[in-house]
């Protein structure tokens, strides 16, 4: 577990000429009792890493699909302590590295002094905190450094060059290249600036570069994955899971992880 687990999982896929695939699901959607089966399905479908969303009442970086998933999760009584307790219980069955995607406030309220150690103890390998930019990192720095958790940095097309370089160097586990300007959710087209952006990140980053936001079809998965080391797909996975179309999730994963389709 920890930083190395994430990086190694991605590098192993890349070593056999394939690309990493990181699906996002919302913890507690539709309820926490299904989390184990959901994670096992993704693991058996060869997901490289799983990004697990923590529901928050005010998710400003998310589009309608993930907002709705968060609402369903909160409605079913999902809380961060409950999520951690389920993860701890199923720790031995889950071998795929897990990364939590959470806004800062649930961590803050839980207590920054203990939350990272509890997250690590639940078997989680890393964190993505979309509303904690570089400028506010000092708020958690001393606490997260007591653990081996990876703090994955989001880098955007909008970021100035110097900032791109700094974030790429700092990121642990992998770099999250935000492939669109805006919030999470499906997009019809992929930006033509994406290739140059990913190349820039790869030049500076000691860890793999994965692209996410707005990717929804197997074709887009293959196209974007080919530019870097892999892809992250959120809204589309949440949508398919909600509709009960699990087999289509597997198709998306395979579009990146099966070398034959690349």
């Amino acid at each position: 577990m920890g930083k190395i687990a994430i990086q190694e999982a991605i590098e192993q896929v890349n070593a056999r000429g394939a690309k990493a695939f990181v699906p996002y699901i919302m913890a507690g959607d539709p309820s926490l009792s299904e989390l184990k089966d959901q994670l096992l399905y993704l693991q058996e479908s060869n997901a490289t890493v799983v990004e697990l969303g923590i529901p928050f009442s005010d998710p400003v970086a998310d589009g309608p699909t993930i907002q709705e998933a968060g609402k369903r999760a909160l409605k079913s009584g999902t809380t961060l302590p409950k999520i951690l307790s389920v993860l701890k219980e199923i720790k031995d069955d889950i071998t795929v590295p897990i990364v939590l995607m959470t806004y800062i406030n649930p961590l803050f309220k839980y207590g920054l002094g203990k939350v990272f150690e509890d997250i690590e103890a639940a078997g989680v390998s890393g964190l993505i905190i979309p509303d904690l930019p570089l400028e506010q990192y000092s708020l958690i720095e001393t606490h997260i450094k007591k653990t081996d958790l990876a703090l994955i940095q989001l880098v955007t097309l909008m970021s100035p060059d110097q900032r791109i370089e700094k974030l790429a160097k700092l990121s642990e586990g992998f770099v999250y290249a935000v492939s669109v300007t805006g919030i999470t959710g499906e997009r019809a087209t992929i930006s033509d600036q994406l290739e140059g952006f990913i190349q820039k990140l790869k030049k500076h980053s000691p860890v793999p570069v994965l692209a996410g936001f707005g990717i929804s079809s197997p074709e887009q998965v293959a196209q974007v994955a080919s530019l870097g080391d892999g892809v992250i797909v959120g809204s589309k996975i949440v949508d398919l899971q909600h509709k009960g179309e699990q087999s289509k999730i597997r198709e998306l994963i395979h579009a990146a992880t099966q070398p034959s389709v690349i």
Binding site: D58, V60, P81, Y103, L107, K109, P130, E135, L154, M158
Partner: protein, 399 residues
């Protein structure tokens, strides 16, 4: 005595404030900070701003001695700073004109804003019409239903009003949607936030634009009384009218500053918006501040008869002034505000906004405890025309 100089270079007021926004917005937030600094040091910008404040908004507005109310209560002398006489009827436009001029300086032609009751939305739509800027206003569907007239006003002024059905469909959700719109359209759009909230530099910038209230008050009270007041009272939702009138007095420690939050149906009912009285610290909408939240860090709904106070957070600078105890924060219920609104209407012939009525209720209590040599200034942040339907319904229900 040390001189008050907040926020620090990181945009923090002590531990409060900061820039808790997605990376996608960081560039815009940093560019805005630079542009604001440049504008602050540019005499031409100030000249232009003063021109609009004077000839368009109608400043300076009066500091009015409320003789009838003072005599009726028989305690301290009560003055009102008449922000209700501004164009559009409230203090909100002091900020929207400043930010719109800044947006033009930055080459941005589109404006997005959120609104609760619609006052900030109308003030934003107004300056956008004046300065030929595209304008999108996000408003919760529940608020749209309650404030049809303000929706029509905004549309009449040429703005597009977008209904927000996410969450509970009120102000907090409108802020979320406005921020999402800004994240997506950040290259050509400026976000005019309506209070001393959001990521740095917004809380500082909105305070500075609103500080014209306190600067005028200081000059006027010295002219009329030859000394500073004993107490200044203002209502607090996000806290922009209060920050505006308090800020020029923060170093004058002999002046007591009092912020009045909305206690809704009463603090113990759980249905209130008294963030500093009954909330705790967390992060929302880009800033570390006091919030209403549950044990799991989920933000809770605020409740107040006045839509303008109906927000589950309070500006980071107020959070700081609460901890340093420079400002005293208290709260007033819906019913007390309704009483104060009627008293003010009958005694002075001024129908105040429901928000302002909270401050007036506390001022009356404070004046009762004072004596005729004491001076109280209340920020009359807005006029009550927008609230007459709400007031009518509430009074009928009470009978």
């Amino acid at each position: 005595m040390t001189t008050y100089a907040q926020p620090d270079i990181n945009g923090q007021f002590g531990q409060f404030g900061g820039r808790f926004v997605p990376e996608t917005l960081m560039r815009a937030v940093l560019e805005l900070e630079e542009a604001y600094k440049e504008a602050q040091n540019d005499p031409e910008f100030h000249k232009l701003l003063e021109h609009y404040l004077k000839d368009y908004i109608g400043r300076e507005n009066p500091l009015y001695y409320a003789e009838n109310l003072t005599k009726k209560i028989g305690g301290s002398k009560i003055y009102f700073k008449r922000e209700d006489l501004n164009h559009t009827g409230a203090h909100k436009i002091n900020n929207t004109i400043g930010q719109a001029l800044l947006a033009i300086r930055m080459g941005k032609k589109k404006i997005v804003a959120e609104t609760g009751a619609g006052q900030h939305g109308v003030a934003t739509a107004t300056v956008c019409a004046l300065l030929n800027l595209d304008c999108v206003i996000y408003m919760g569907e529940e608020d749209i239903r309650r404030q049809q007239l303000n929706v029509f006003r905004m549309e009449l002024l040429g703005a597009r009003v977008e209904s927000v059905s996410q969450g509970s469909g009120t102000l907090k959700d409108a802020v979320n949607e406005a921020m999402r719109y800004w994240v997506t359209n950040v290259e050509d759009t400026h976000y005019i936030i309506g209070s001393v909230l959001g990521p740095h530099p917004f809380p500082q910038m909105v305070r500075d634009f609103q500080s014209v209230i306190g600067k005028e008050t200081k000059k006027q009270i010295l002219e009329k009384e030859g000394r500073l007041p004993d107490e200044i009272i203002a209502c607090i939702g996000g806290g922009s009218n209060a920050m505006g009138i308090f800020h020029p007095f923060i170093n004058d420690t002999e002046v007591k500053l009092t912020g009045v939050e909305a206690a809704g149906s009463g603090i113990h009912s759980g249905k209130h918006a008294a963030t500093l009285t009954a909330g705790d610290v967390g992060v929302l909408h880009g800033s570390l501040m006091y919030l209403l939240q549950n044990d799991d860090g989920q933000i809770q709904e605020a409740h107040s008869i006045s839509a303008g106070l109906d927000y589950p957070g309070v500006g980071p600078e107020h959070s700081y002034l609460h901890e340093t105890k420079r400002v005293h924060y208290t709260s007033v219920t819906d019913n007390e505000a309704l009483d104060a609104l009627q008293l003010m209407s009958r005694t002075e012939g001024i129908i105040p906004a429901l928000e302002t009525a909270h401050a007036i209720h506390y001022a009356v209590e404070s004046a009762k405890a004072g004596n005729p040599e004491d001076i109280i200034v209340v920020c009359l942040s807005g006029r009550g025309d927008k609230d007459v339907n709400t007031v009518k319904a509430a009074l009928e229900e009470r009978e």
